[in-house]
């Protein structure tokens, strides 16, 4: 599972000013942060790189303020979520629809690609929840910290996102 979970000691050493520990921490965290932004940016590599860069700079600047090193992963992803929100402030996604539109069926090479295309087509809150739950392997407590929403809401977003993907995949298999 794609989880970035650094040794807690590494976080503590980095907080104490150990540059080597900090660099290792950045290396471990960068991949996960990039993956998060890549999904939120619907696969736009350049945009994901810019956002990951900005996220990691904020992580470095505020590492000292992290009070629970055990919460490093959700803390970093909360910063990533803030960076995404800031970047999208002027062009927010439309309000959450009651019924999610099913993505248009595509001629995907394989099932995995088809699932990822459908993930990318989901509205942002669902995309973010599914990304953290499955691509990052976070539990709902950690997702609460990262996304600033109650666990019940996040479970609901995950369920609804899965449902849209599943129904769209069923349409694909009937084509």
């Amino acid at each position: 599972m794609a989880v970035m979970a650094p040794d807690i000691r590494l976080v503590e050493h980095a907080q104490r000013g150990d540059a080597t520990a900090r660099d290792r921490l950045l290396e471990e965290a960068y991949r996960g942060v990039f993956r998060y932004h890549l999904r939120l940016a619907r696969g736009a590599m350049d945009e994901a790189q810019e956002l990951a860069h900005e996220t990691m700079l904020r992580v470095v600047r505020s590492l000292e303020t992290l009070r629970e090193p055990t919460r490093f992963v959700p803390w970093v992803l909360a910063i990533a979520a803030n960076v995404w929100r800031d970047a999208r402030r002027r062009t927010p996604d439309a309000a959450l629809p009651e019924e999610l539109p099913a993505p248009e069926p595509q001629d995907d090479a394989d099932e995995a690609q088809a699932v990822m295309h459908r993930l990318d087509a989901l509205p942002e809150p669902y995309r973010a929840a599914l990304t953290l739950r499955y691509l990052h392997g976070l539990d709902y407590d950690a997702m609460e910290v990262a996304l600033g929403a109650p666990a019940g809401t996040l479970r609901s977003h995950v369920a609804r996102g899965l449902k849209v993907i599943r129904e769209s995949m069923e349409k694909r298999s009937r084509l």
Binding site: R16, G17, L51, L57, E64, W75, T91, V145
Partner: protein, 571 residues
């Protein structure tokens, strides 16, 4: 709704445990009886498994991103990076990342991209007509040189003044240093149709892309470390040092004339000053130059232990180390933890945070301060008379100035000094929580969603805080804790030498203006009052610079494809 329809409707809620125990039992029972619904449930599980195994990232992309990140972190660590809307106010203007808004430096009275020093121009004039489809562009701090990216035949080229660089596959992060040296990232074609990244610093194309970069205070000189075939080397001016097995903490003196770095040969690390190795340690880190460039300070690890130990019935992994602070030839007693050493501006004294056991304290001039649960790296005020650091004691945060504590609501994100006063931005990054500026003795300002660019400005005999703040979708420049007009974005404010004017770029309704504010004294409230005025509309506005006599403010601006150096007379 029949059982099949009910199950199909709720199968995802069942999968993520959103059902009540009664509903759960009913769905479980139906899945045991109905093959079609069981297939639906398995499809959901397969989607979950697919998502869990997805998310691979090309290693080259990660490595390129990490290289760039290391350089940026190093720049920030030195605090000598080009100041820009993008780099200084990421919280305020992060949206500019997405829109490709250009970045101009806020560094008045600096040099041209050429070798000759020139003062900023205060003659209004057209700079250049940008070609159709131009990408990033920048104006040098003195307003005399323009750089921009053009695409021809599918390749990108960088035009700097009257010279053309390239071709490149891609170009990014175009910027001028305070000294007017152009810098950017570029991708160049490599064998087999691949691309590789290079970093351009003035006329120097650093290939491969540097793992470490150190720049002089004026941005005129740089040193860098690269890795070729797993071997590290350092370049500083005409000199090359290496090979090493690893290099860290590359740093140059203020003028860029001397270089120091930690390097590993085999299992041992030393700090190399101008290529000459000091004593060896298990590890070295946080190398810092004295302001006059006469000596370095750094942290050396003398021993470490790690392994499983038995505590009662439990076995626990523990890791501990002993570290010393080395200042010139003087070595401190060992500590369990040490932060980055910092020299007093006169270079005569060094301060650092250190920990023994569970307690933390600041050591300055060899003397220990009070003990806390945690302390931040200390900083000296510009006059060297005050030492300031953050501290945490039993979950409460404080800012400590000269041993005197002031409570702050959260961690400290920025510190500013001015006229013997200290202000901090208090707040945490991990959530949508508020930030506020806290001034010692003067108290706290209003809470905002985010704050950046805190500094002091002098007005009459007072020093007042100036910063940028965002509340919701609106941005303000806040002067002496009073928010100015709201805009969709603002750039960092500049303050005139006589303290009577401020100026900053701002965006509203998709158009940019330069906001100039005349600072008057409000007799009734006995505090400054800013009367703001907007310039004409532009498509983009860069950072302003005031004339030495405070009578004019100049700034780069764009209308359509016309770039102009605009000058406003102040009254």
């Amino acid at each position: 709704m029949n059982a099949c329809a009910e199950t199909r409707e709720r199968v995802e809620e069942f999968a993520v445990d959103l059902t009540t125990p009664v509903e759960r039992r009913a769905i479980e029972q139906h899945l045991g009886e109905c093959e079609a619904c069981r297939a639906t449930f398995h499809r959901v599980r397969r989607i979950e498994e697919t998502l869990m195994s997805a998310g691979g990232v090309p290693p080259a992309v990660v490595e390129a991103g990490l290289s760039r990140l290391r350089v940026a972190v190093e720049r920030e660590r030195r605090g000598r990076d080009v100041i820009s809307r993008r780099s200084v106010m990421p919280l305020i203007a992060a949206a500019s990342l997405m829109t490709g808004i250009f970045v101009w430096v806020l560094a008045p009275r600096v040099q041209d991209a050429g070798p000759a020093k020139q003062e900023p121009s205060f003659d209004e004039r057209k700079l250049v007509t940008l070609p159709e489809g131009v990408g990033e562009y920048e104006v040098a701090p003195d307003g005399r040189t323009v750089a921009f990216v053009v695409t021809r035949d599918g390749k990108k080229r960088v035009v700097v003044g009257d010279t053309v660089r390239g071709p490149y596959e891609d170009v990014g992060s175009l910027s001028f240093t305070p000294a007017g040296v152009i810098t950017y990232d570029a991708s160049v074609a490599a064998a087999g149709g691949a691309e590789r990244s290079v970093y351009v610093f003035g006329k120097q194309e650093i290939d491969p892309y540097p793992h470490l970069l150190a720049v002089s205070e004026d941005g005129a000189r740089a040193a860098w470390a690269v890795v070729r075939d797993g071997t590290w080397s350092v370049t500083a001016g005409e000199k090359q040092y290496g090979p090493y097995d690893e290099v860290a903490d590359l740093t140059v003196t203020r003028d860029g004339g001397r270089v120091a770095f930690g390097a590993r040969i085999g299992e041992r690390w030393s700090v190399f000053v101008d290529g000459k190795a000091g004593p060896d340690y298990e590890a070295v880190r946080t190398v810092r130059w004295a302001p006059d460039g006469s000596r370095v300070a750094y942290v050396g690890r003398v021993s470490h232990e790690q392994g499983m130990v038995k505590r009662g019935e439990e076995r626990t992994f523990v890791k501990s180390e002993k570290v010393v602070v080395v200042v010139g030839d003087v070595v401190s007693d060992p500590f369990d933890h040490v932060g980055a050493p910092v020299f007093r501006p006169d270079g005569a004294e060094v301060a650092y945070r250190a920990g023994i056991g569970g307690g933390w304290f600041v050591v300055s001039g060899g003397k220990r301060g009070d003990e806390y649960d945690f302390v931040g790296d200390p900083r000296y005020s510009p006059d060297g008379k005050q030492l300031i650091h953050s501290a945490r004691l039993e979950a409460a945060w404080y800012v400590v100035v000269g041993g005197k504590t002031t409570s702050v609501p959260d961690g400290i994100r920025e510190i500013a000094f001015g006229g013997g006063r200290v202000a901090v931005v208090a707040g945490r990054e991990d959530g949508p929580g508020p930030m506020q500026v806290v001034e010692q003795e003067a108290g706290s300002g209003a809470k905002y969603d985010s704050i950046g660019g805190l500094r002091f400005a002098r007005f009459r005999d007072e020093h007042v805080t100036v910063y940028c703040a965002r509340q919701g979708a609106w941005h303000h420049v806040v002067y002496d804790q009073i928010a100015g007009p709201r805009y969709r974005e603002v750039g960092l404010p500049a303050v005139s030498p006589n303290g009577r004017f401020i100026a900053y770029p701002a965006m509203r309704s998709g158009k940019w203006v330069l906001v100039t504010g005349a600072v008057e004294h409000n007799e009734s409230e006995n505090r400054p009052l800013v009367a703001s005025r907007n310039s004409e509309d532009f498509d983009d506005v860069g950072s302003p610079v005031f004339s030495a006599d405070s009578r004019k403010v100049a700034f780069p601006a764009r209308k359509g494809r016309e770039l102009i150096w605009k000058v406003i007379a102040l009254e």
